[in-house]
Symmetry: C2
Subunit: 404 residues, 2 copies
């Protein structure tokens, strides 16, 4: 009997490797300027503080920090999350905070509760690839809600009424960098409540603002109808694999049971390290540093794009987060540019990775947080060359491409 | 609109809180002798070694240890696992090792691939509660395979042919403590291969032997038909949340994709700590210590049971692992003894928690690894009192209960 002894569940036909994580393998190529993956700058990790904290935790409370723990998470960490969210306008008790293994696990667990064959889940267009991947094995169909530059259009929500949830990334969205304004947040929440359309609000980037903090979470407008997901990956370090989910009571209890079945609980040592680290009060100064660093990256990329690509693409300059979203002339298929770009020493992610339905082939995502400013400039210049070359082949054909 | 905006997937009706993890909340009661949960002794955690290693890792390679990582896991850790398994008789390349967030996640992921509504999954009777919980949301029906004191009966496997897999815990099983002998392993693998019945082999306790190492894994007999799950929870510390899954190629690729969707990857820092720790060569001496400690617990419990319960229950003395499995007279429902036992200052887990089908109400599980020897004795004595009192109520009724 061969491996064919295995018969797979129908849902496995929905599993696909992430284009981005496959790209990450290419990105090991020495010298490549990585504008592709969304790796936070390792320069911004609080390594020294974590080293000190790990000394303390493993000397003072190793028995707790290395043991099994409750599924919900460390009470002190849940309390910290609740307080932090209260400061940001979302009043939530610590008893509704579930510590997760990164916010990706939050997506998986909420999908496990809400999605199934025959159901729909509404998403922005474009949206975070990792969410599409987390939703896929639960066999619901992802449907796109119409969006404009301010986010999902409230008047279009009725077209996805009946979906099990609308998945939103309101702050400095991955991939577009777009931040939903306060008024639009209210409209979306009002309309969703009216339609009985629950929200999944994913907020890994909310602390990464450059000029001013984003408006309060959409969840603040409709806490009983929203599952809110957060993460320590972008404000401390992704390698700790810690995030959190906030949910109204009936959803919360099921989330806890689903998490228990999935991995019992998140890393105890990591949770102890983070609680201890946050207690030192380092976060605000640390976030200032990270914001300064990322703002420099954003500025470098904005300048480089202006210099090298003003005639090749359009974009909005993001006010936070990690990404620029470029729209190329519609004749260009960004995916076909990737091999020559890597040849030229620069990586990016083709926009098609981020669409549930009708993909914009002529779009791409650039990250400005992985590389230092001078390499960002170098990468954008290399990318511009690749796009310009592709454009030239069109110019040789009749009919000049127009900027979008 | 209230929380009723949420409509849940059908699978949520299968979610249940773990009796054990609910019990763990009671176990916070001060002074309670915990013979219930399966918490490894915190005295056995390599805390000091981890403290040193965390210094080194966070000083020397913080950029890698705190960053996102590949879904498969750290190459050095995967290589270590492969070498270790080769020593134990399972020849496997590192490319078939997936690092998971504890072996509980391995159970969740393999269930996600294999199980679905209308399918069956075969399990031992009794079996590990956490596996039943991991399988439940995927809506397959768990069916029991007939077992004797050596494990699943090969001649009974045909009764569960057609199941998507047979889940086995061959080494010092949770809850029975039973170790499947080498000959039985071969018979099971042969019969499973013949029937085209894939195996899920769960081995968290294989290193916790007291007298001699257990036979090679069942997977060694049929690697193309077996997914093998292992864990660092019992040999180092559960709070690190690290385990691994070994699978033949087509299953492996899907496992990786399912893990990517579920949590991207397991804790990078935890993986670096473990690799660095294992490289010091500390494991063999450390395991000797853990085995010595657990053997003392086993001996204390065996002696206490002999002294206090020889006329109240039957059991096999386990040759490794963490648990005794007690069979009480059939009139006794162990679950009803739990409240008076906690009143008396001792906890245990009623046997019914571990059955997929027909529960043995008159069984219970005792752990000998959480408490020191003198408290084990005290706990068993208290439990004996509770059982004796329950027996007395039967004696007052006509017809004396008989030992099983």
């Amino acid at each position: 009997m061969s491996p064919t002894a295995f018969r797979f569940a129908r849902r496995t036909s929905r599993l696909t490797p992430s284009m981005i994580r496959e790209l990450m393998k290419l990105m090991g190529r020495p010298g490549l300027v990585s504008l592709g993956g969304g790796l936070p700058s390792a320069d911004g990790f609080p390594a020294e503080a974590l080293r000190e904290v790990s000394q303390r935790v493993l000397a003072q409370s190793p028995r707790e920090a290395l043991q099994y723990a409750t599924t919900e998470g460390l009470p002190a960490l849940r309390e910290w999350v609740a307080q932090r969210l209260r400061q940001r306008g979302l009043a939530v008790p610590a008893t509704q905070v579930l510590i997760t293994s990164g916010s990706q696990q939050g997506l998986d667990l909420v999908a496990k509760l809400l999605l199934e064959k025959g159901a729909k889940v509404a998403v922005e267009s474009p949206t975070y690839l990792g969410a599409l991947q987390a939703f896929a094995p639960y066999e619901a169909d992802a449907v796109e809600v119409a969006c404009d530059e301010a986010g999902p259009r409230p008047e279009s929500l009725h077209e996805v009424a009946g979906a099990r949830a609308l998945y939103l990334l309101p702050n400095f969205q991955n991939p577009t960098g777009r931040c939903i304004p306060a008024a639009r947040r209210r409209q979306i929440a009002d309309q969703a409540r009216r339609l009985g359309l629950p929200l999944i609000e994913d907020d890994p980037y909310g602390d990464l603002w450059f000029d001013r903090a984003p408006p309060p979470p959409v969840a603040a407008q409709w806490p009983e109808g929203t599952v809110y997901l957060g993460s320590f990956s972008k404000i401390l370090a992704p390698g700790l694999r810690l995030g959190y989910a906030i949910a109204p009571a009936p959803v919360y209890d099921l989330l806890v049971q689903a998490k228990q079945a999935a991995d019992l609980h998140s890393g105890t040592l990591a949770q102890h390290l983070v609680v201890d680290l946050l207690r030192t009060g380092m976060l605000d100064a640390h976030l200032d540093e990270v914001r300064t660093r990322y703002r420099l990256g954003r500025d470098a990329m904005a300048q480089a794009l202006h210099t090298h690509m003003h005639d090749l693409a359009t974009w909005q300059v993001p006010e936070g987060g990690m990404f620029f979203w470029l729209t190329l002339p519609p004749q260009i298929d960004a995916a076909t540019l990737l091999p020559p770009a890597i040849e030229q020493g620069v990586s990016f992610v083709p926009g098609i990775a981020f669409f549930a339905g009708s993909p914009m082939h002529h779009s791409l995502r650039l990250s400005f947080v992985t590389e230092p400013a001078e390499r960002i400039v170098q990468g954008v210049a290399a990318l511009a060359q690749v796009v310009r070359r592709a454009m030239a082949t069109f110019r040789e054909a009749p009919g000049r491409p127009k900027l979008p």
